[in-house]
């Protein structure tokens, strides 16, 4: 049994990084506007489908990988400006219901456009195959995922902490009325922030379809672990999401060694324990969402 632990820790790390990036996208949107975005998974799926279609039409993988998330962001901005914006300032339940409805509509639209069949999405040859790590052979594609996610985390951190825009964004999370009074266009801030969250979702979406089958439910299957990640990490904390994501990933992987039947449940158990001991989550701020 013990010789399996090393590989499982590594597997868990990759899985966790994945949950974390989806969770951070959710967190960004939740922190600033209180929107619990149930359509997050749909945007992931959308980016996956767009990348698939581009590649099927002869586009280079790397181009599709960069452009598909951006197209998803474009759709997200339209949705934010037309549908979600009127609900800011209301109870979070309104936007939750709206985005939940959107995710159902999106699923049917995917069904209509791309069919019910799972589509074959293959990463390019450079990213297929395995790499010998000594203790195990690890798929190159998963290493690529880790690389992309680390870069995305770093870029996000730089953006939030070393740019004026990032400064305004963080300030708005603290007190958006004050920021508005000081002359910042908060509506624009909300839109860009929403787009940023969806950009992360889009990147995760395209990465996911190299790992999972691409169909209308792909994104939503990853949404639940991401929500759990946000709750364990604590609302309002991006680092919390990162730590919680990795924690869940490793816990899930190790669980498959000992009690596979509990591997899908372990994150909920973790969530229950964290909520009991520390209701705001590991790194969460107190009082968010009342």
């Amino acid at each position: 049994m013990l010789e399996h632990v090393g590989p499982q820790l590594f597997n868990g790390l990759v899985l966790g990084a994945f949950y974390a990036i989806v969770a951070i996208g959710l967190s960004l949107i939740m922190n600033l506007t209180g929107t619990i975005n149930m359509a997050h998974g749909s945007f992931m799926t959308l980016a996956g489908y767009l990348a698939f279609t581009m590649i099927a039409r002869g586009t280079n993988f790397w181009f599709a990988f960069l452009v598909a998330p951006l197209l998803a962001v474009l759709v997200a901005i339209i949705v934010e400006r037309t549908l979600i914006r009127p609900l800011y300032g209301r109870d979070p339940v309104y936007s939750l219901l709206l985005t939940f409805g959107l995710s159902l509509i999106a699923e049917e639209v995917f069904h209509l456009v791309w069919g019910a069949n799972t589509l074959p999405f293959t990463p390019p040859a450079v990213l297929s195959g395995t790499l010998a790590l000594g203790f195990m052979n690890f798929p190159v594609y998963r290493l690529f995922i880790v690389l992309v996610l680390v870069l995305a985390f770093a870029a996000l951190a730089l953006f939030l902490y070393y740019t004026r825009f990032g400064l305004r964004l963080r300030a708005a999370v603290q007190d958006s009325e004050m920021i508005a009074a000081l002359g910042t266009n908060t509506q624009m801030l909300y839109t860009i922030n929403f787009g940023l969250g969806i950009l992360l979702a889009g990147i995760a979406g395209v990465l996911a379809v190299g790992l999972l089958g691409l169909n209308m439910t792909t994104g939503n299957t990853l949404l639940m672990p991401a929500f759990v990640t946000v709750i364990i990490g604590g609302m309002g904390s991006l680092y919390g999401s990162l730590v919680a994501g990795v924690l869940i990933g490793i816990a899930t992987s190790l669980m498959t060694l000992y009690v596979p039947a509990a591997s899908e449940v372990i994150m909920y158990i973790l969530m229950a324990v964290v909520l009991t001991i520390r209701p705001r989550g590991l790194f969460g701020e107190e009082g968010l969402f009342g």
């Binding site: 019910a116 589509l119 395995t130 052979n137 798929p139 089958g213 299957t221 596979p260 591997s263 899908e264």
Partner: protein, 427 residues
């Protein structure tokens, strides 16, 4: 100004046409009062959303094709057949509730459908409570024609016992007797595992490892990394649907498909189409193939007609050839209607009596019959090697059929079944 599309002139024309219709009579495409009530209604329960939406759609096409064929012949009992579809979402509770709706509200005389075993069992329960005939077209778990068997339910697709026994011997002979299992952790997977354990005991094989994976597992990496150190002769994959796609895709990325032979009791074209060619490999049990004479029966006109009808009417929308799911749907509906025609009534008990034990020819080789004792369709099952890229002529033709097994050699005998399935008709 050129005026809007709907101007006075078109209004007058339209009103004139309407008035003319009133004088001449109702246009032919609008059913007259009473006609709809005459149609024989049959309720179709399939998943049209979620994981099994594609097989659900495909079974419905098969059902529709059988209905069209019968309607063309003049229907059944002098009545045209009409199907009413409900999305059961692969959720047992939803399936049962919609089954009741179809019977109580829509006045359907019989039910047909389901892909997942859970839904098959729940509709079986609901329909037998209502005393209504049910054809379980696509849920495989043994229990439907095993410990949960009921007089009103006929199952068309193969049982898990048949699937495992049709393939396990072939896998052992071809690759060796040391198996590693990736098993879905629910009724269907457990039933398959039991059947495989039975074969392993018979041939003196060993189990190198078994991983029970929860249904809906997205990441199989933790399971797959355990396969290499266990050094099996063959990796046996029992998971289905999206789980199958994810598992095979990830097994390929871990390099396992090049290292170990792989196979399993059941593979379907639907999930295979969701895989890139490099992950399409192995030796698998299959339940039908549109291209193989071993499956269709040499010179079987009905089968070839079915395939060419499908191509003529559905290729444009479906873009893919017919699969075993179309076959399940077609055979189920065709036999249900044949039963009603033979019994000269829609009374469920009499129809069920007319169907059981009755031998028939259909769109597969050799013909078959629904066994009287458990209502399982006894028909051959096949083993195929996967052609990753199809044939030069047809890239969708992934099955190279290598063996055919007669139903009696792979299903439990009547005597064995009698201990499990106790069927009682209402008196």
């Amino acid at each position: 100004m050129s005026g809007s599309a709907f101007n006075r002139r078109t209004f007058v024309k339209g009103a004139g046409a309407g008035a003319a219709a009133l004088v001449v009579g109702v246009p032919a495409f609008i059913p007259r009062l009473g006609e709809a009530a005459d149609a024989l209604k049959i309720g179709v329960l399939e998943p049209y959303t979620g994981t099994y939406a594609f097989p659900g759609e495909n079974e419905t096409i098969g059902i529709q094709m059988a209905v069209d064929a019968w309607n063309k012949k003049g229907g059944v009992l002098g009545r045209q057949i009409e199907i009413i579809k409900e999305d059961e979402q692969s959720k047992p509770d939803v399936a049962a509730q919609k089954a009741r709706k179809l019977v109580n509200q829509d006045k359907c005389v019989a039910l047909i459908g389901t892909v997942s075993s859970g839904s098959s069992l729940s509709v079986q329960k609901a329909s037998s409570d209502m005393g209504i005939l049910f054809f379980a077209s696509g849920g495989h778990t043994d229990d439907v024609t095993g410990k949960n068997c009921t007089w009103n339910t006929f199952r068309t697709c193969h049982s898990t016992w048949m699937e495992a026994h049709a393939t396990a011997y072939t896998l052992a002979k071809k690759f060796g007797k040391r198996f590693y299992f990736i098993t879905p952790d629910y009724a269907y997977g457990h039933a398959l595992q039991t059947a495989f354990d039975d074969v392993i005991k018979q041939i003196g094989g060993t189990t190198a490892g078994t991983d029970l994976t929860p249904l809906g597992t997205t990441d199989f990496s933790s399971y797959l990394t355990k396969v290499t150190p266990a050094k099996p002769d063959v990796l046996v994959v029992l998971v289905q649907g999206d789980d199958y796609t994810n598992c095979m895709k990830q097994a390929d990325s871990f390099g396992l498909l090049k290292k170990f032979p792989v196979g399993g009791p059941q593979v379907e074209l639907e999930p295979l189409y969701g895989l890139a060619p490099e992950a399409r490999t192995g030796v698998w049990g299959i339940e039908w193939s549109y291209s193989s004479d071993t499956c269709l029966g040499k010179g079987n006109k009905a089968a070839h007609q079915f395939v060419s009808d499908y191509y003529a009417h559905y290729l444009n929308t479906q873009k893919k050839p017919p699969t075993a799911r179309q076959c399940f749907g077609y055979v189920s509906m065709d036999r249900m209607l044949a039963g009603m025609a033979a019994a000269k009534t829609t009374d469920s008990v009499k129809v069920a009596r007319a169907i059981e034990g009755e031998k028939f020819q259909s769109i597969f080789a050799d013909g078959g019959y629904y066994r009287k004792e458990d209502h399982q369709l006894m028909w051959p099952m096949w083993v195929a090697e996967i052609r990753p890229n199809g044939t030069p002529k047809d890239p969708n033709d992934l099955f190279n059929v290598v063996a055919k097994h007669d139903p009696d050699s792979i299903e439990q005998s009547v005597a064995e079944k009698a201990k499990i399935c106790k069927m009682t008709y209402p008196s």
